[in-house]
């Protein structure tokens, strides 16, 4: 098993820099997800690792070998494409066998390998069919079969599930996870769907505008986003962000949002910073409907309640800023939520970001 290491990797089209010198170490057997909005350079990064795009600057290594100038076929990587890219004129068997045939592998070995893969992916009964006769999920599985049959060192996934409907996507996500657990091949997965990133990844790389914003485990990113971009990208719904001004009230730090005062966690960087502008980040699931001993109340205007079944989303406004709350229903009953006028917020669950740079101010220090 090999890891992948990117060093100052850059992609330029003319004068436009799409990937701006990123550094990334991917450990052997790791499942890393590159996530970010459209045009953030995540797919280009993947394609550079695949060898489908030239690298303008920097290096890519697989294991200890620099592969900048190595042809895609000699990199020992396999890629699953967003649109499957199955050869429509070939049967499922031939689609999976294609790479082995090109490499002039012995016929018996090909039959054996394809059957093994088909078995793993539950495709055995479809081997004689053409792609047109398969459902979306089956096609996606054939595309994966084509990748795994070669036993590559690295798997690359380029938004493989974005063409599937929601239900199938959940199912295939689990299948990919299971496959990775079983094969333990280093995998790099590109998606714009943060739920896919959270559920699949050992580590997530959040990208924006050709740069890496943060690298970490899903929970690290969820609990400690380094800036407002990551905070707004990870989590569903994303973290609420309120503009606030820091005040010192009787020796405790509070954030003034509209007319409400929210007690802030103890943060070193905020010492003596009265009147400093900050952004207060609060996760929708971290809001209380009942006061606790340490929470601070905040007045809201309730706009609408969306019922999801066991939970509901409250769309509210705080000082003219949209603010979403995730609350539990009482066995589907939301009548108690319609009357909410005040929310309660625990200081320890608040993130504070600098208003100018958007960077997180050091996490709360326990005392």
């Amino acid at each position: 098993m090999s890891g992948v290491s990117l060093s100052k990797m850059t992609k330029r089209y003319g004068i436009v820099e799409v990937v701006r010198g990123i550094d990334l170490e991917i450990k052997p057997q790791e499942f890393v997800v590159l996530v970010g909005p459209s045009g953030c350079g995540k797919s280009t990064t993947l394609r550079m690792i695949a060898g489908l795009e030239e690298i303008s600057d920097g290096t890519v290594k697989i294991g200890d070998r620099v592969i900048n100038e190595v042809a895609p076929k000699d990199r020992d990587v396999a890629m699953v494409f967003q649109n499957y890219a199955l050869y429509p004129h070939l049967s499922v068997f031939e689609n999976i066998a294609f790479g082995l045939r090109i490499r002039k592998v012995d016929k018996k070995v090909i039959t054996q390998s394809v059957n093994d893969v088909a078995n793993t992916l539950g495709l055995t009964e479809y081997l004689e069919r053409k792609p047109a006769d398969l459902s979306g999920g089956q096609r996606q599985r054939v595309a994966m079969g084509r990748a795994i049959v070669r036993h590559p060192k690295i798997f690359l996934f380029d938004e493989p599930l974005s063409n599937l409907d929601a239900k199938l996507r959940t199912q295939m996500r689990a299948e990919i996870k299971r496959l990775h657990k079983r094969l333990k091949v280093t995998s790099i997965y590109v998606t714009h769907d943060q739920i896919e990133a959270m559920t699949l990844a050992d580590r997530i790389v959040v990208m924006n505008d050709g740069r890496i914003e943060q690298i970490g485990t899903p929970m690290e990113l969820f609990n400690n986003p380094v800036n407002t971009f990551v905070a707004g990208f990870i989590g569903s719904p994303p973290m609420n962000q309120l503009n606030a001004i820091v005040n010192d009230v009787d020796g405790r730090l509070v954030a003034k949002v509209g007319n409400s005062l929210i007690t802030l966690p103890k943060i070193k960087a905020l010492a003596n910073s009265s009147n400093r502008e900050v952004i207060v980040g609060i996760r929708p699931e971290h809001v209380l409907l009942q006061a606790s001993a340490t929470s601070s109340p905040i007045a809201i205007e309730l706009e609408l309640v969306e019922t999801l079944g066991s939970e509901a989303l409250l769309h509210t406004q705080i000082a003219k800023t949209p603010f979403v709350v995730k609350a539990e229903t009482r066995f589907g009953d939301v009548s108690h939520l319609d009357k909410v006028t005040t929310l309660h917020i625990e200081p320890d669950l608040i993130k504070v970001f600098d208003a100018d740079t958007g960077m997180a101010l050091a996490t709360a220090i326990q005392d």
Binding site: K73, P88, D133
Partner: protein, 292 residues
């Protein structure tokens, strides 16, 4: 089609279209029927103007005369050589050429594409082309006819456009699987382009089969003449033959019936090719391979 779902105007429009298409079909079909009918009629029936749709006084005399001429069979053989040899060489040039011109990584791609398209609008003209063929020693040879007209810019551009429409992910997937350009072309592009290649093949075959002018100019040796040139020669000979032309009144065959018989003989093979190629004209060959 359930006509009840259409408004009166739509129905009227549909009927007009059907009538027009029907008339057009008849106008293209009738010459074939007429020629076939003439070829099977007696010379007298034709000259006296009795033949319209069905043969009158059915006789195979015209065919007997045509098919008994060894020169006819020789011309037939030559046409087959020019048609299939020429089509093969054409495809051998057009397919890789179109593939290369369709690749974004081709250096100077715009220039090369322009150079190919240029030949569609401007060429050297008849005399320089003839002199060129003469100087290359390609007069009076099978080879000259076959390679002299093998490369056709229109067909290259047609196929190039089709290749450009094939999603990049096919090429990329094949490259990741280890395929080189020849393998991508052979194992992916050609199978995916069957309809386009069938169209081009048909164009080549028809053009070769009907090729007349240059064959007449470039070939002197009677043994190498294709069917179309032979046909012209027979017509000319028969017209010159005063005796034949004037003695047709009661003859079993006449100038018209012999000409018609040769025409039928030269049309039938090309008509027979079409059904074989037609099966590749099915759309949706890309279906299921990629999700748009």
């Amino acid at each position: 089609m359930n006509m009840n779902l259409y408004s009166r105007g739509d129905k009227f429009f549909a009927i007009c279209i059907m009538v027009l298409v029907g008339l057009f079909t008849l106008s293209t079909l009738y010459p074939f029927i007429y020629i076939a009918a003439v070829s099977f009629s007696s010379g007298f029936a034709v000259t006296s103007g009795q033949v319209t749709i069905v043969p009158i006084d059915i006789t195979f005399a015209a065919y007997d005369r045509v098919l008994s001429d060894p020169m006819f069979w020789n011309a037939y053989k030559n046409t087959f050589i020019y048609t299939f040899g020429g089509t093969f060489v054409s495809l051998l040039i057009i397919i890789p050429g179109a593939y290369a011109l369709s690749r974004p990584q081709l250096k100077g791609r715009r220039f090369w594409n322009f150079m190919v398209a240029f030949t569609m609008w401007f060429n050297a003209g008849m005399i320089p082309f003839f002199l060129n063929m003469r100087d290359l020693g390609l007069l009076d040879s099978y080879f000259g006819i076959i390679i002299g007209f093998a490369c056709n810019a229109f067909n290259i551009i047609l196929l190039r456009n089709f290749f450009e429409g094939i999603p990049d992910s096919f090429t990329e997937a094949a490259r990741m699987d280890g395929a080189n350009d020849f393998q991508v072309l052979w194992k992916v592009f050609i199978p995916l382009s069957k309809p386009a290649i069938a169209t081009i093949t048909l164009f080549c075959i028809v053009a070769r089969w009907n090729g007349f002018f240059w064959a007449m100019v470039l070939l002197q040796d009677e043994d190498k003449l294709p069917l179309q040139v032979y046909l012209r020669r027979v017509i000319a000979e028969l017209t010159d033959d005063e005796e034949f032309v004037s003695s047709t009144v009661n003859a079993l065959y006449s100038f018209e019936t012999v000409t018609a018989a040769i025409m039928v003989c030269s049309i039938v093979p090309i008509l027979m090719i079409y059904p074989f190629i037609q099966k590749y004209f099915n759309k949706g060959i890309m279906l299921g391979g990629v999700k748009e």
